[in-house]
């Protein structure tokens, strides 16, 4: 189990601590934030505001749904009046005048946002190594990455600095750090959580995700945050379920689960991960779920597909960072020079690499051969998965091939880091929900995450199943 002292679920905390719960939560959180400073999970801590808000909540009679929930916010999610930098030099000095819709909803529900979490620059990375503020570190071994891009969020949750953290997941950036740090990481169905206020990386893949130590907290946050936002045209107009009720109601259900063969037989799969998968397949079977092996022949094409689509969209989404209206601007005599210097100096190498790739796949002469092909391949995947989900309630696979890797291991071979995402990009490409559960440990005592996916908008089912594994 986790070697750190963390908060229990919010409802338990409120029961145990009574009326002073928000205040004691903030004090404990601030203490732990200080204690674990070296892990670099936080860029900014909003100490006074958190304490004030906690006082205010203590004096309030009516308890809002997220009364005193301590939340960490990834540095790519807007909080009005606060710096928002996407861990990048190019946004130094920028304060957002508005809050992300999800943030607003959480605040209205009584949550206490305690600070900005470290992450990879513009959410591009799998180790939180590409940050203007320096790397975040894995709490189980500080020489290892905590995962990325929501590394800081995962560390904060794992070490009890917060109850819940908001991250973002474009190719696995919530689930993978959750797996490396031994916490739960959940990416909702595309469109379930508004993206308004989330700094866009890849528009058709991004979702705000939630990291936590228990499913109840995730369900509580979803109950408040999910649902249509008029400021986000891609947010779903459908009515969203009452997640909290759903996870209580359906906990005893038995499901038909498909284990993806190509993942458990993957050439890069760590032996401890293979063992963990076998162990859990057996446990679930004994619990009464029906388990079968199922094939996903497209697996090897997913990272290629993802690289094309994500970089293409990112290359356009990052064009607005030009030094004109906000953030960093380099000194220059002409406009052209200003653009080039600002962006060359303001972006890190990984971000520039991806912008170049994205520009390439969209440029004339290459558009059909790369971008169009990737969109077609994506449809193949979506059709294939739709079919699978007609037969299976859930799909099961490892979150990552292996546990956390050492900081710097991919320094000379950045392209190889992309392959770490092989099991997580599926859900982003398909728009389906997915969750990483901290169900196992490597022989070295490092966390291993097992991933479950369901069809689009079956989030309540996914969460209730997940909750059932932690009784």
């Amino acid at each position: 189990m986790s070697k750190f002292k963390t908060f229990p679920s919010l409802w338990r905390w409120l029961e145990e601590r009574g009326p002073k719960a928000p205040l004691s939560a903030v004090n404990i959180a601030l203490k732990r934030i200080e204690q674990f400073r070296d892990l670099n999970a936080f860029i900014d801590v909003w100490k006074e505001e958190a304490q004030q808000l906690a006082q205010q909540l203590v004096s309030e009679k009516r308890k809002k749904p997220l009364h005193g929930l301590i939340v960490g916010v990834k540095d790519n999610i807007a909080v009005a009046g606060k710096p928002l930098t996407a861990a990048s030099k190019i946004l130094q000095g920028y304060k957002s005048p508005f809050s992300a819709t999800v943030v607003e909803r959480l605040q209205e529900a009584g949550a206490i946002l305690i600070g900005r979490n470290n992450c990879d620059e513009f959410a591009m990375g799998s180790g939180n190594e590409y940050s203007y503020y320096g790397p975040a570190r894995n709490p189980y071994n500080p020489d290892l990455v905590p995962g990325g891009s929501s590394g800081g969020s995962a560390v904060a949750v794992a070490t009890g600095q917060v109850m819940v953290a908001l991250g973002s997941d474009t190719g696995g950036s919530v689930r993978q750090p959750a797996a490396y740090c031994g916490v739960i990481g959940y990416k909702p169905t595309y469109g379930l959580l508004s993206r308004y206020g989330l700094i866009a990386f890849a528009s058709s893949l991004d979702q705000i995700g939630i990291l936590a130590n228990n499913v109840e907290d995730i369900a509580a946050v979803m109950s408040v945050a999910a649902g249509k936002d008029p400021m986000d045209a891609t947010s779903t107009p459908s009515k969203t379920p009452n997640f909290v009720e759903e996870i209580i109601d359906s906990r005893q259900r038995k499901f038909k689960i498909g284990v993806i063969t190509e993942t458990v037989e993957h050439k890069d799969l760590h032996p401890d991960m293979a063992i963990a998968m076998e162990k859990w397949i057996s446990i679930l079977s004994k619990k009464g779920h029906e388990i079968e092996y199922v094939s996903l022949p497209l697996l090897d094409y997913l990272v290629p597909m993802y690289q094309i689509i994500a970089t293409a969209e990112a290359s356009a989404n990052l064009s607005r960072y030009d030094g004109v209206r906000y953030g960093y601007r380099a000194e220059a005599d002409t406009l052209e020079e200003m653009y080039i210097k600002t962006r060359t100096e303001g972006f890190g190498m990984e971000v520039k690499r991806r912008i170049m790739m994205g520009t390439f796949v969209l440029s004339s002469g290459f558009y059909d051969a790369y971008y169009m092909r990737a969109l077609k391949a994506r449809r193949l995947l979506v059709n294939y998965l739709n079919n699978l989900f007609k037969q299976y309630d859930l799909l099961m696979l490892p979150t990552t091939p292996a546990p956390a890797f050492p900081i710097g291991s991919f320094a000379q071979r950045p392209v190889e880091m992309y392959l770490v995402d092989v099991f997580t990009v599926i859900a982003n490409l398909a728009g389906t929900p997915a969750i990483s559960l901290p169900l196992a440990w490597s022989k070295d005592g490092l966390p291993l995450g097992i991933q479950f996916m369901s069809k689009a908008f079956d989030d309540a089912k996914l969460l209730s199943f997940s909750a059932s594994l932690f009784n």
Binding site: I77, A78, S96, P97, F98, G197, A233, T234, R320
Partner: protein, 482 residues
């Protein structure tokens, strides 16, 4: 035709829509506001913002598509056009590249006495940029983002236009159309109507045009015509001296009256269009389409055909009616109450037009309703009151108080007091006495003089007599004279 050189011209017209809020961003817009007071995080492309389409923009675009008889795409999406410029906050413009809202339409316009048809290749929904001001500060370019995100429709014609005059007339027709549909002010001075032109020449004896030159920044109808005139001449001279016209983009210097090359490096404009992922496809409902079809006002060319072919009005009359489509609207309304086109026209082209001119108002501001005018026409036709009296006295009184009922007013002012038979006789006798030579001529066969006698009598009677009675009386007394 310039000599034997045939100009081939296509236009790219930008129409700024007069919605209350911008296209993909929710704030309001007003021409001439203080700089940077009408912006929003979305139109400024602040980190984390997203576009959402304004339904009114889609409605206006659909209305235009219907008016242009174009093939409407019921389901469409948007595209990103990527390039860097300081007045383009996102570093891309949201437009429609592969799914424009409509294609293959046409618009008729009048040039001289004939109607010409121009094919409309496509209309696409897009957004305007902010304004870059280069000439206030010598060291900086100044940026005003009020206009960033304002809705635009881009209308692209086929190269069906063959002279600068045609181009001007066509643009005027587009302006008239968008104003008539109520979707835009169509004001070139304020930038709510903009035009770029593509022009090439077909050499004498050949059938294919030479290279196309794009001419931009034409801020008025006059400049459009002048720029094209200059460009045609410029290209002709190049060809005649044995040279070739380069494919390029040129600006127009209004002061010097010349076009000049603009340094836009063609090969570096790779816009990398791709479907806009932040907005799912939009579908036009059958309901909306039907509703808009009903709302569609009739268009100039249709009206022309109706007036000249169905109603048999003269060209001059038809021209009058379609010059300001509000007048034709008024006319059609009046016809509903009294179906006599010529009579209604007599009033519109006569007293109504005079009143509008005198008071410098438009028909929209005219105080009398079409129904009242129809009533007046009816009254005059039925000779309850003579036209002269109705169009002067009665009309004037009604203008003073439009709420009055014409028939009541006639009674109040005793306008229908008919002279009795003996006063008619007295007046006719006195008229005839004044024209002894004419009476002689009349009896010698100049029967046309009858009109003179009747007219003079009516004048003396101040119109307050039944014209037939007057005629009868004149004839009676003339025959007596014999």
């Amino acid at each position: 035709m310039v000599g034997d050189w045939k100009p081939v011209i296509g236009l790219e017209i930008h129409i700024q829509l007069k919605t209350r809020s911008k296209n993909f961003s929710p704030e309001g817009y007003e021409y001439g506001a203080e700089p940077n007071t009408l912006t929003h995080p979305v139109s400024l492309a602040y980190p984390g913002t997203l576009p959402v389409v304004n339904k009114k923009v889609v409605e206006y675009a659909t209305l235009l598509a219907l008016a242009l008889n174009a093939e409407i795409r019921k389901t469409f999406h948007f595209s990103r056009k990527n390039y860097f410029y300081p007045d383009l906050p996102k570093g891309y413009q949201i437009t429609q590249y592969d799914t424009p809202i409509c294609e293959n339409g046409y618009l008729h316009f009048k040039i001289g006495k004939t109607w010409k048809k121009v094919r409309i290749l496509r209309v696409q929904i897009e957004e305007d940029t902010g304004k870059s001001i280069h000439d206030i500060d010598p060291f900086y370019t100044l940026l005003d983002f009020n206009r960033a995100g304002v809705p635009l429709l881009e209308l692209v014609t086929a190269p069906d236009i063959n002279s600068p005059e045609e181009a001007q007339a066509f643009l005027v027709a587009v302006r008239q159309l968008v104003r008539h549909l109520g979707i835009s002010d169509g004001n070139m001075e304020e930038g709510s109507l903009r035009c770029d032109a593509n022009i090439s020449l077909i050499p004498p004896g050949e059938d294919k045009p030479g290279n196309r030159v794009e001419v931009k920044n034409l801020n008025s109808f006059r400049f459009l015509r002048k720029a094209l005139e200059y460009e045609i001449e410029r290209q002709r001279q190049i060809y005649e001296s044995g040279g070739t016209v380069e494919r390029e983009t040129r600006g127009f210097d209004a002061v010097k009256g010349v076009t000049f090359p603009m340094r836009t490096k063609e090969e570096l404009h790779d816009y990398r269009y791709f479907p806009e992922p932040d907005m799912p496809p939009y579908e036009l409902s059958q309901e909306l389409l039907e509703g808009l079809k009903h709302k569609m006002p009739p268009l100039p060319f249709q009206l022309w055909k109706r007036y000249t072919e169905e109603l048999n009005l003269s060209e001059k009359e038809a021209e009058f009616l379609i010059e300001d489509l509000d007048i034709s609207r008024f006319f059609e309304e009046a016809l509903k109450s009294y179906n006599s086109p010529k009579s209604i026209l007599k009033w519109l082209m006569g007293p109504v037009r005079a009143s509008l001119n005198q008071n410098s108002i438009s028909i929209e501001q005219f105080p009398l309703s079409p129904q009242i005018i129809a009533k007046l026409a009816q009254i005059a036709d039925k000779e309850i009151v003579h036209f002269t009296v109705a169009s002067q006295k009665l009309f004037r009184e009604l203008l003073k108080d439009p709420s009055k009922d014409p028939e009541k007013l006639i009674k109040e002012l005793s306008l229908d007091q008919k002279a009795d038979d003996s006063s008619i006789e007295d007046v006719v006798r006195s008229v005839l006495q004044a024209f002894p030579e004419k009476i002689e001529q009349y009896h010698k066969g100049k029967t046309g003089l009858l009109g003179l006698f009747i007219g003079e009598s009516m004048k003396k009677l101040k119109g307050k007599a039944d014209p037939r009675k007057v005629k009868e009386t004149v004839l009676k007394l003339l025959n007596k004279e014999q």
